[in-house]
Symmetry: C2
Subunit: 140 residues, 2 copies
DNA sequence: TTGCTCCTCACGTCACGTGAGGTGGC
DNA sequence: TTGCTCCTCACGTCACGTGAGGTGGC
């Protein structure tokens, strides 16, 4: 969950300890990351993951698992899946599993989230006032 | 944009001054509230508005306009359209254009928004750290 | 045979956006 | 005739949820 220590404009997960296994089923990854099978298949459909196949069955490698971690990290930062796909595509060859964020892109996303934050703050202020009013009224 | 001064668990817009006109076209309401025609038709499709018709053309009355204001107010508080529909249906007969919010519902919505706020706050913290790192790196 | 995990459609949800193709009145 | 506003489909977008119907191996 930490930003990678490498220099340069990249975000990445540090290698988790439990990745000693070489291959993962869709069920294993879903459980580990708290996702549904549908979500994992959807990420594949959107071109964000491309596990190998053994017949019809998906086989995820350690690199797929790392990439998934990066995807979820970026989602937590508020990027859409298509933005994530683009950011991953821009990443330098040596860091195919990371995201490439420029200072400008980072600033854009900050502005975007600050906007949402302001809307939620305004709603919360009103709702708290309203709740106080309701409680005061019912107590009377 | 203020909570109605009436006693009781209701939220409503105060009557705006420009409602001297008795009827409105969809275009007039869209412009006034900063919505698209599609949005207004969509609210109708979801059963939140039911303007009259003159042939095929929608005719909105002052009461429709007030109801729209309530809908947008509730949306700003983070309620979904189906929640808004339910809240409007629960409102007492005499306040058909208002929303009926209980203290419990208000508390639920506050909790919901606080959850979102926490996620956005966490994302913002990371993005600001990352931006600072990017700027420091590029300055070196 | 049951139970578990995996698979591929494919429609549903949320709140609209975006044409396509057409009408009515100044 | 042009321009404006209105209309009804109906598919697209976003990130999946949710069955339906079927397979493979212990």
């Amino acid at each position: 969950m930490t930003i990678s220590p490498q220099a340069g404009p990249t975000l990445a997960y540090s290698q988790p300890t439990s990745s000693s296994r070489r291959y993962f089923t869709i069920g294993q990854l879903a459980k580990e990351f708290g996702l549904t099978l549908r979500a994992l298949r959807f990420y594949e459909d959107r071109g964000l993951l491309s596990p190998q196949r053994e017949g019809h069955i998906r086989i995820y490698r350690a690199s797929d698992r790392e990439r998934l971690a990066v995807i979820l990290k970026a989602k937590a930062l508020g990027f859409t899946l298509s933005e994530i796909k683009a950011l991953a595509a821009e990443a330098p060859q040596a860091e195919r599993l990371a995201l490439s964020l420029s200072a400008a892109q980072t600033a854009d996303q900050i502005a975007h989230l600050e906007q949402q934050q302001a809307e939620i703050d305004a709603a919360l202020r009103e709702l708290r006032t309203e709740r106080a009013r309701l409680l005061a009224t019912s107590a009377t």
